[in-house]
Symmetry: C2
DNA sequence: CTGAAAGCGCTTACAG
DNA sequence: CTGAAAGCGCTTACAG
């Protein structure tokens, strides 16, 4: 059985048309389920498609229709559970809507990000959803906007860029966290991890400061210890804090992963989080609940945030000339076991 | 300034040709850096491209060349750190080689997987790298192979499918783990989490059994507690073990995430892993090192495995008719603090 | 070294 | 209800 179009390359609508004894227009019509084609014809065409194992060439169709069902999904650090949860949410929403995500993991490298952005343009994506690196230039993305392809930034806000954005309520989240620590009686609260070059860190720091001031206390810069926003960074921050003899009895950490590093380093010095020292994280990643001790943290429903981000992008793709959205997901305090009331004989 | 081709839609090589006063063939030639075109001509063409902000339409080129630089990357559970590390490795290798990954997260749903596979064919991917769901039918993938598009399976082997595969050495890894537990003096060792419908679990169980037998002991089915391979599953498995009064003093867990759940549940009952009970994981995900207690586990260099998998796929794409590879990454025991020598007064 | 022509696999008016 | 023709943005022999 040597049907035309078989063999190495896949069958085309021309092959189908020939075998079904119709024109390729008709084949195209049955492909889009047009009511214009007679049932009998449709059945014949579909039978032939089945026989030849026809598979639709979407790239060709897209070229012709001058559209695309690709969406660029640019993640700054896929290995970080926060971002992989977010990515899962984005992927889910895109898939549901019939779009297919092209993935790029920039690993926090702005140069890589620029290359990837260019590549995605060539690929002809319908839109882009991106969590920028800590060092992304707002202008580079703004310029991108001139190409008329919609972009939404997620998780990290680029100041000055007039770009759609969806993120957590960092200010209010940190406010809630610090307020809670104050309620527990802590007076000397460190801020651990993250670097102030990132908007996220500045926002969280600001919430922290606001809570302090609301309680009539003064924010002390010598209580902030900047490091990379990683487990390792958390360890370093804790060590620096201990070395500084600042007298802190509690710490708000830049994120959960930093908090884990902090707890680890503290424990190495015989200080148990949740008993001798209070630590609070940010993000509520999956492992927080299972950590020992279970981590008190701020949640922003990461996966949902990814889904919402995708929805915003989709609506921009399907209805151009919309206003530029900024959407902030509400923050919520999740109390678990890594904090304790201030004891009189405090450590650190 | 109203250059032709400006405005809404992007400029094409026709626009460039017209403005530079050459034919579109020439423009195409400069695009591919052909040495055939005179320097002066090239310069002129490039100047015009810059002016119009020309961006290459790779989809059109691919259609014409009957090739593709897309690779399908199908992940069974992106939220699991093991898979997101693997995904990061795959993405990195693909990117380096000039391919672009289309992402799909099946969430362990075989139906979703089938849809996604179909979608990727329509998209015209050059190859597919997939970690199958626990329930994937070997035949469904084998059929795919007839389309002549290369596929490599990763992390989970599909028995009976004649498919390229890269994975960890589950048998030997589990063997090393159990051997270590035996060396610590444990006589009653549970196997916790995972379900035997997955090849990975069966392989690890087999390694466990082999180590037992090598030590002259007999494998006891009542010491295995199957659950979902998640943190929650780990908790359930530990509770079931405790309830069974089986007398285990140590456990090999299906993976790290299960181990975390186990440790958590044990702790709720006042049993401290690494002191009262020994637990060992599998995968060495990033958080294992930072867990309390730091988790003793088996590593298989997950990220590297992803990279290697991508390389295999790439070589299949670029050199068809190669033999079908099966590559097993070596396993290695990482000793940390979640295991202890058997004490006389054992718990559980 | 450069241009004219055909074609990749589709869709879309437009006739009939 | 179906067919013939043009065209999406490229590349590739083939002439000149």
């Amino acid at each position: 059985m040597t049907a035309p179009g078989r063999g190495d390359s896949r069958a085309t609508i021309i092959d189908i048309a020939r075998l079904a004894g119709v024109s390729k227009s008709t084949v195209s019509l049955v492909l889009k389920n047009s009511p214009m084609v007679k049932d009998e014809t449709r059945a014949r065409v579909e039978a032939v498609m089945g026989e030849l194992g026809y598979v639709y060439n979407r790239a060709a169709a897209n070229l012709r229709m001058a559209r695309s069902n690709f969406v660029g999904m640019i993640i700054s650090d896929l290995m970080n559970p926060f971002f992989s949860e977010m990515a899962a949410g984005i992927e889910e929403a895109l898939y549901r809507a019939g779009y297919v995500p092209i993935l790029a993991n920039t690993n926090e490298d702005p140069q890589r990000e620029a290359q990837v952005l260019q590549s995605m343009r060539e690929q002809g994506v319908a839109g882009i959803i991106i969590s920028p690196t800590g060092l992304t230039d707002a202008d580079s993305l703004a310029e991108f906007r001139h190409s008329h392809i919609p972009v939404v930034t997620i998780a990290r806000r680029l100041n000055g860029a007039h770009l759609a954005y969806i993120g957590q309520d960092n200010v209010n989240g940190a406010f809630l966290a610090t307020q809670y620590l104050l309620e527990l009686g802590h007076k000397t609260i460190a801020f651990l991890g993250g670097t102030s070059s990132a908007a996220t860190q500045r926002e969280r720091m600001q919430g922290h400061r606001l809570a302090l001031e609301a309680a009539g206390m003064v924010f002390q810069p010598n209580l902030v210890f900047e490091t990379a926003p990683t487990r390792r960074g958390g360890r370093e921050a804790a060590q620096a804090m201990l070395a500084s003899q600042c007298g802190a009895t509690a710490a708000l950490c830049f994120n959960d992963v930093v908090a884990f590093g902090v707890i680890h380093a503290l424990s190495d010095c015989g200080i148990e989080a949740g008993r001798d020292f209070s630590v609070i994280g940010f993000d509520n990643i999956a492992e927080s609940e299972f950590h020992r001790p279970p981590l008190t943290t701020i949640t922003a429903h990461t996966r949902t945030m990814g889904e919402h981000g995708a929805h915003i992008l989709l609506s921009m793709i399907e209805h151009p000339n919309q206003p530029i959205y900024v959407l902030i997901e509400p923050a919520q305090l999740i109390i678990r076991e890594s904090c304790a009331p201030l004891q009189l004989e405090s450590t650190a």
